[in-house]
Each structure stands twice: as structure tokens, then as C-alpha cells.
């Protein structure tokens, strides 16, 4: 473990710690990269090969798989839709949560802790339980089968996580900076936009990454809240292929 590195007085220990550190990094590198490698190789195999000898190299490299994938009609649109949804949902999510996080973590007001607790308690909710309410809500908002339905839903679903992350990071920013800014005549909004927001960048990036990946991979609500090909996301195109593994029984 790297943390066991000791001072110059123990060179042998230091060397051992260095070895352990690199061993750790390399072992974990293999673990982390293996899925991508496996998936990439599998993309060149037939389904039969994936099912019966999943860890061998393909007998014949099936470039046809990619031709098939690209031949799914509307693939560029699915990609475009996914990008629009993920970018818009993440953008809205970060905008609203950074505003609220600023208020919660940098200001004093009654009910502050309760607001934070209730907001972030949302991370505990198994979102799958909300299929009926979400479907009802989206149809009542008359945005069923639009990209907007997904944008709004995704940006809302990720609020608890983003609130958690963004306000945690905002809270670690030393208060002195803000105080001096206030003395210089910065307004409430300027303190948010000019002082805290730039300093909370690591938190925003982390929350944004979470949100973007969620939007990109989300499938169940994409299937439920959209129906026509024009508002479908790329995950649905991917299922055209992965679902083959499940069609072995009809």
C-alpha cells in the first residue's frame, strides 16, 4: 500500500511500498479495462461464439456485425436524440441543483437542513417503483413521446445525487473568499455566479458525469415514456442486438 511509504530512513520499505502501489494500479487496471476489451472482441463474434466460448478470440472476425448495427434505420437519429437528451438533462440538472446547493450550503435560512435532508433522501428511492406515476405525469403534462419527457424526467431523477455532490463540494469552499467578495459589494447572485460556481467545478463535473452516463444508459423510462421511432434513444437501438440473447426462448 502506498500509504505505507515511510521516510528516507527506510529505503527497503519504501521500495516495497512503491512496488505494492504499482502492483495495485496494474491489477486494478486489468480489472477495469477487461470489460471494454471483452465487449470489443465480442462485437466481432457470432452470438453462438459468445454463448459457447465467450473468452476465445473469434474464429472469423465478424465485421458484418458492424454493418448490421449501422443498418438499423435511424441510428444517427437515435444517437442525436441521446446526445440531446443527455446534454439537456444534465444541463438543466446542474443549473437547478447548483442554485439550490448554493442556497443550502452557503446561506442560513430556516428549514435549511430539512430541505437538504429531504432532497438528498431521494437517492434511496428505487426509481423503478415510479413507473405508473411517471407515466401518468408525463401524459398529463402532454409531453408523452417527446424528447422533452426524457429531458425533464432524467434531470429530475438525478437531483438528489447532484444535490448531494454539488453541495458537498460547495461546503468545502472556505467562507473567507465569499465574505471579502460581499464586502466588495458583490450581490447574492454574483457570489453564486462569480465566486462559488467556479470553485465548485470539481463537484459539478462529478455530478455532471453521473447524470450524463445515467441519461445515456437509461433504458426503462426511455421505453416507457417514448414510443415513436423519432423520439427513441440509442439504448433502444442497442437492445435490437442484445435482445437476441434473450430470444432463444420466444
Amino acid at each position: 500500500m502506498s500509504t505505507l511509504q515511510l521516510t528516507e530512513t527506510h529505503p527497503a520499505l519504501k521500495a516495497a511500498a512503491k512496488t505494492a502501489k504499482w502492483a495495485m494500479l496494474i491489477v486494478y487496471f486489468v480489472i477495469a479495462v477487461f470489460p471494454i476489451v471483452w465487449l470489443t472482441v465480442s462485437a466481432f463474434k457470432t452470438n453462438f461464439e459468445i454463448e459457447t466460448s465467450p473468452f476465445s478470440l473469434p474464429e472469423v472476425w465478424q465485421f458484418q456485425n458492424f454493418v448490421n448495427a449501422l443498418s438499423v434505420s435511424g441510428l444517427p437519429q437515435f444517437f442525436m436524440n441521446s446526445i440531446i437528451v443527455a446534454v439537456a438533462a444534465t444541463g438543466i440538472n446542474l443549473l437547478v441543483t447548483s442554485l439550490a446547493s448554493f442556497a443550502v450550503s452557503r446561506e442560513q435560512f430556516p428549514g435549511r437542513k430539512i430541505f437538504f435532508t429531504f432532497t438528498t433522501a431521494g437517492v434511496l428511492i428505487p426509481i423503478i417503483a415510479f413507473m405508473v406515476p411517471y407515466y401518468t405525469l408525463i401524459t398529463q403534462l402532454r409531453i408523452y413521446d417527446t424528447l422533452l419527457a426524457l429531458v425533464v424526467t432524467y434531470s429530475a431523477i438525478n437531483i438528489p445525487i447532484s444535490m448531494f455532490l454539488v453541495s458537498s463540494f460547495m461546503a468545502t469552499i472556505p467562507g473567507e473568499l465569499e465574505d471579502s467578495a460581499e464586502i466588495d459589494g458583490c450581490s447574492f447572485f454574483q457570489r453564486y455566479a462569480k465566486i462559488i460556481l467556479p470553485l465548485a467545478r470539481p463537484g459539478l463535473v462529478t455530478a455532471g458525469t453521473f447524470s450524463f452516463i445515467y441519461c445515456w444508459n437509461e433504458f426503462i423510462y426511455a421505453l416507457l415514456l417514448t414510443s415513436s421511432t423519432s423520439s427513441r434513444t440509442v439504448q433502444l437501438a442497442i437492445r435490437f442486438f442484445t435482445s437476441q440473447f434473450r430470444t432463444d426462448y420466444a
Binding site: S2, S105, A129, V132, F164, F189
Partner: protein, 299 residues
């Protein structure tokens, strides 16, 4: 005193404005569904015919179901392994990378990669890995002289749950990124001063990094535990609760009740899952302290 009050009241309209968008979204997408869920948990409903009020009977039937009991137990195991294995691993790797060894940015990206892959694909790979006929886990064990451990990982009573949890919690990308982002805010001067005082790396981590990171670690831990508690896709895809009902979790139990058109019981399961989460997290916070997002140190 009075000036602080005046300041707060002057800012109040700003505060309300800042909280408004989140509040609107939360009311529509969390509060309304949760109320729906809670009401439904006291109802019998097959999704087609009108609901009927049944009092606590959904809850009592859950507690008398041994599969539900196993699910609670498994949820706790998931939660604790997230707190005791996943987060320490993420912390260790984040601390190594925080010292910016050669190629650390490359490692950081690589370590995050599995989080980009969909759970369906990961589950497909792990099912193949654990397979005793053609999987690589057993081959690996045989090659390092641990052949006696080879087994049908997902198909044996004792190994299935650990195998499923391992396949999920070995990927720590999210939590590593959160902790790593936290280390950025620690000024380098802290370490320089410590080094002059003769503190070794272990001491530096223990007395400088960890205290500063405590809040962020709790945040990461809270998320890890929450994710572990509410997950069901991995279990659904890896074992579907088997073998012999050894691996079900509450999320899966709930999903199954929805598929069985017993929405009342599904809702009751959802409510209990949320309550369990509140219970576990407040317990963990009592031990490790609060996430300092609303810490009193501010201002």
C-alpha cells in the same frame, strides 16, 4: 444579531428563487410519486380494477414471506459491503492517484471505464466469467493453485451472493472520482509543511488528507450504500434471485410483485426499502459523522 437577521431577510427572496426550480421538480417527480407509493401500500390493486383499502395487510404479508426476509438480509449485506469494501477500495485508489504518480490521468480514465458500460453488458460478461463449464474465474484459480475453490459460482448456495456483489462492487469508478475531486481542494502547502515537520506519507494521509476528506468520503459512502440498497438490475440479470432464493434483494422483490400485478405489495416493499435506507444511513452517519454539505462550519 439584528444585522444578520436583516441580511437573511434581504437574501430570502434570492434563496427562495434559487430553491424554486429544484422544489418544483422534486414535488412532481418525487413527492407526488412517493405519496402515490405510500397510499398504494395500504391498498390492494392489480393495476386494472379499482383499488381497495386493506390496511396493514400488505406489510404483514411481506414480513411473513421468507423470501422477503432474505431480501432484507441481503440488502443489508449489500449495504455493508459497499461501506466496508467498495468505499475503502475507492479511497485507497483515489489516495494513490491523488499523489499524481506517472500516468495518473490515464489510470483515472481507465478505472472509470466500467461505469460507462451498461449493466446488461457487464452482467453478461460476469455470468460468462463465473460459468463452471467455460468461465475464466475457475481457470484463473486453477492456474494459481487454488483449483479446489473452483465451483459453479452463481449456482451454489454459499457463493452466489458474494459473487453477485463482487461483480458489482469491484467497479469503484464513481466513488474514486468523487474522492479524487475532493483531494483537489487540499492545498499543496499543507503537505509541504508536514514534510518539513518530518511526517511520512502515512502520517500525512492520516492527519491531513483524511480529516479534510471526511465529508466527501461520507458523501461517497452514502451514495455507495444508497446505490447498493436500491439496486436490483444486477441481481435480476445475474441470478434472478437464485439459486434456491439465496440472492433476492428488496428491489427485485418489488419488481416481481409489480409483474405479478400485486401493486399494493410492491408499493409496501418500496416504502420499506426507503425506510431501511433511512435507517442504515442514519446509523452509518452516527458512526462516521455527517456529510458536511450543510455543515455548521460554513459562514
Amino acid at each position: 444579531m439584528s444585522s444578520l437577521d436583516r441580511k437573511t431577510s434581504r437574501n430570502m427572496k434570492w434563496i427562495i428563487l434559487f430553491l424554486l426550480p429544484v422544489t418544483v421538480l422534486l414535488i412532481s417527480f418525487f413527492l407526488y410519486p412517493i405519496v402515490f407509493l405510500v397510499v398504494l401500500s395500504f391498498m390492494e390493486w392489480n393495476g386494472i380494477e379499482p383499488m381497495s383499502f386493506v390496511g396493514m395487510s400488505n406489510f404483514s404479508s411481506l414480513f411473513s414471506d421468507s423470501i422477503f426476509q432474505t431480501s432484507i438480509k441481503n440488502n443489508l449485506i449489500w449495504a455493508f459491503s459497499a461501506a466496508l469494501l467498495q468505499i475503502p477500495l475507492a479511497l485507497l485508489i483515489a489516495l494513490i492517484l491523488a499523489r499524481e504518480p506517472r500516468g495518473w490521468k490515464f489510470f483515472r480514465t481507465a478505472f472509470f471505464l466500467p461505469n460507462v458500460i451498461s449493466l446488461v453488458a457487464l452482467a453478461m460478461m460476469w455470468r460468462a466469467m463465473y460459468n463452471p463449464e467455460f468461465g475464466v474465474v475457475n481457470v484463473l484459480l486453477e492456474n494459481i493453485g487454488l483449483g479446489h475453490l473452483a465451483r459453479n459460482w452463481l449456482g451454489e448456495l454459499d457463493s452466489a451472493l458474494p459473487a453477485v456483489i463482487f461483480s458489482y462492487q469491484i467497479y469503484i469508478g464513481y466513488f474514486m472520482v468523487i474522492i479524487l475531486a475532493g483531494t483537489i481542494s487540499i492545498p499543496k502547502s499543507f503537505y509541504e509543511a508536514a514534510m518539513i515537520d518530518g511526517a511520512n506519507v502515512l502520517q500525512q494521509e492520516l492527519y491531513i488528507t483524511l480529516p479534510v476528506l471526511r465529508g466527501i468520503i461520507v458523501t461517497a459512502g452514502t451514495l455507495a450504500v444508497a446505490f447498493a440498497l436500491r439496486q436490483f438490475e444486477t441481481t435480476f440479470l445475474m441470478t434472478a434471485g437464485g439459486p434456491a432464493n439465496r440472492t433476492p434483494v428488496m428491489g427485485l422483490y418489488m419488481y416481481r410483485r409489480m409483474a405479478g400485478l400485486t401493486y399494493g405489495r410492491a408499493a409496501a416493499t418500496g416504502v420499506l426499502l426507503i425506510l431501511l435506507g433511512v435507517f442504515v444511513l442514519s446509523g452509518l452517519q452516527r458512526i462516521f459523522g455527517k456529510s458536511d454539505a450543510v455543515g455548521d462550519s460554513v459562514q
